[in-house]
């Protein structure tokens, strides 16, 4: 047990050191690419919790990533265009700000909503589904369909949401320039610290009795009910935690990349997020972060070098991992450690 905790915190220290080292070594442009994939790392941690341990596969984490991203972008956009309406609204001849945009005049409300809305939505939706004993592949398909629906909805409501272009053209947070090299570094530091905190929290959850119940649910959900647990409640909670993490990741994405669009939250991204976790190791919180960074950077490189065929590389990678490394990179690492 002590050994486990030691190894567990080793994993976190390793990631923290890596993130710090990257900040020292990389130029601002490369660093902002790392920061972009750090946003996805939040999602990947959530997927480890929910899929690796709880056995619940969601192919729609982009929904919650998008919620966080859009809410943050809405705040930034309102600030950027004040006192006018956002440009895309004027292009679609929207004359007054829609009511649901109102809270995003204030940073406090925005942050609160980023934390609360995705968690509550995720909990209520998934509890309703799990209570009906719907799970496995069916749950994955439902979430996939929801991710698709959300992108269609956003694209259709051009005037209210920025449509297919998304929300873009914002440069300041409370008057603070967020695109300069100096501020990028500050943003990166905050981002990295929060990511490490998220990892620590998730490890604590996994080490508690709750974590053991999750494993039990993954292996024998029907039996867990006869140990006195309302498994729908437990699964919905872990789904809400993963939604919360995704939303935080999305908010950072909007800050770091300077835009959010339906592309970045849709079906393809949602599935990529699962690949990050699978490659890194779906039973390892640290592995998920490494997986997100590695696959992300690889994707950036491949899409520049082989713009036509890079998606096939990604697909092949996923097949390789699933076929030969069921516990991903983290699994390989721990096997090496054991054999040494």
């Amino acid at each position: 047990m002590k050994e486990l905790i030691r190894r567990g915190s080793g994993e976190i220290i390793f990631v923290a050191a890596l993130l710090a080292a990257l900040a020292l070594v990389l130029d601002p442009f490369r660093l902002s690419t790392v920061a972009k994939y750090m946003s996805f790392a939040f999602v990947a941690i959530g997927i480890v919790l929910m899929w690796g341990y709880g056995g619940v596969l969601s192919l729609g984490q982009g929904i919650f990533f998008g919620m966080g991203g859009y809410m943050m972008a809405m705040f930034l956009k309102l600030e950027a265009s004040a006192p006018e309406l956002p440009d895309f609204m004027m292009w679609s001849s929207v004359e007054t700000l829609p009511t649901w945009w109102q809270p995003f005049h204030h940073l406090g409300w925005t942050l609160l909503l980023i934390l609360v809305v995705p968690s509550v939505v995720a909990y209520l939706f998934s509890y309703a589904v799990f209570r009906k004993r719907v799970g496995g592949v069916y749950f994955a398909i439902v979430t996939l369909a929801l991710a698709l629906t959300l992108t269609v909805l956003i694209i259709g409501q051009q005037g209210d949401t920025g449509g297919a272009n998304g929300i873009t053209d914002f440069r300041t947070l409370l008057g603070w320039d967020i695109v300069g090299d100096q501020s990028k570094l500050v943003l990166y530091a905050v981002h990295a610290v929060l990511l490490v905190v998220a990892m620590a929290v998730c490890r604590a959850i996994l080490h508690s009795r709750f974590g053991k119940v999750l494993i039990a649910i993954r292996d024998r959900e029907d039996r867990v009910r006869f140990s006195g647990y309302n498994t729908a409640h437990i699964k919905a909670f872990v789904f809400a935690v993963s939604a919360l993490l995704s939303s935080i990741g999305g908010a950072f994405y909007a800050l770091q990349v300077g835009m959010i669009s339906p592309d970045t939250i849709g079906v393809v991204t949602s599935i990529e997020m699962v690949i990050y976790a699978a490659v890194g190791g779906r039973l390892s919180v640290g592995g998920a972060v490494i997986g997100a960074l590695l696959v992300g950077l690889m994707k950036s490189y491949l899409s520049e070098a082989f713009p036509e065929v890079w998606l096939y590389f990604l697909g092949a990678l996923f097949i390789l991992v699933v076929a030969f490394m069921p516990h991903g990179l983290a699994g390989v690492a721990s096997r090496l450690r054991v054999s040494r």
Partner: protein
């Protein structure tokens, strides 16, 4: 079947319970009364509805009609985890334990109380919990294997582990489905002793085929056949009942 006035120390009262699957009545109008501290054995040929009866008591299967009252509470409307929390424990026929967890973790998960989200997050492995796990482990002969993964236990040990997981829930009513199935003769003997200790201070319903085993442990035997109660009495009584001999023991 006429309603019988329940005895004053009745723990479980099953009245006219029926369930049908696609028109086939797996359990058909069964009534049963279990008293405090009673050990009841249910026997019957395959397909008699024994397991289905237990499934309905513990909430796994919803009855089509009839009632199940446990300490005066109607169970047919509750979900599985709520029934567990009223004090009913169920042991399944095939050993069902959490194979990826250690024996200790299997026990810890089963400790009652704090089984909501927050309770599970805040559960501490304090000295009380440790003691409790150790004493239960000892009573099911597993105190040496606490840190082993449950998946590595032998078949008989898994059966014991599951019985232990039930004991730690301290249920008032224990439902055991063929607890000695697949055990070696030595393990059977140990289990028979274990069950006699387990039954102290609670009511138990056991499904069992092995008549020698039944005679060793039972107060009262209920014989089921084709979804109905065929006969009820002591082991000797039912064994000499011509209807029972005809459908079951004679074959």
């Amino acid at each position: 079947m006429a309603a019988i006035t329940p005895p004053s120390d009745e723990v479980l009262g099953v009245q006219d319970l029926t369930v049908s699957f696609d028109g086939f009545r797996a359990v058909n109008g069964v009534s049963l009364s279990i008293r405090r501290n009673e050990l009841r054995v249910i026997i019957g040929p395959n397909g008699a509805g024994k397991t289905t009866l237990l499934d309905m008591i513990c909430g796994k299967t919803r009855p089509s009609s009839g009632s199940i009252r446990f300490n005066g509470r109607e169970l047919t409307r509750l979900s599985e985890h709520e029934i567990v929390r009223t004090g009913v424990g169920r042991k399944f026929q095939a050993p069902s334990v959490y194979e990826d967890l250690t024996v200790r973790e299997n026990f810890e998960i089963s400790i009652p109380g704090g089984q909501g989200v927050w309770g599970s997050l805040l559960f501490r492995r304090d000295s009380v919990a440790r003691e409790r796990v150790y004493s239960i482990a000892k009573s099911v002969f597993l105190e040496q294997s606490l840190d082993e993964k449950a998946g590595r236990l032998s078949h008989g040990q898994k059966q014991w582990l599951e019985i232990g997981m039930l004991l730690i829930q301290s249920p008032q009513l224990l439902l055991l489905d063929e607890p000695v199935a697949g055990m070696s003769p030595r393990e059977r003997e140990l289990t028979a002793d274990l069950l006699q200790r387990v039954c102290q201070g609670r009511s138990v319903i056991v499904i069992e085929h092995d008549m020698d085993f039944v005679k060793r442990i039972a107060n009262t035997v209920t014989v089921m056949h084709q979804g109905r109660v065929l006969s009820e009495g002591t082991a000797e009584q039912v064994q000499s009942d011509p209807r029972v001999i005809d459908v079951y023991l004679g074959h």
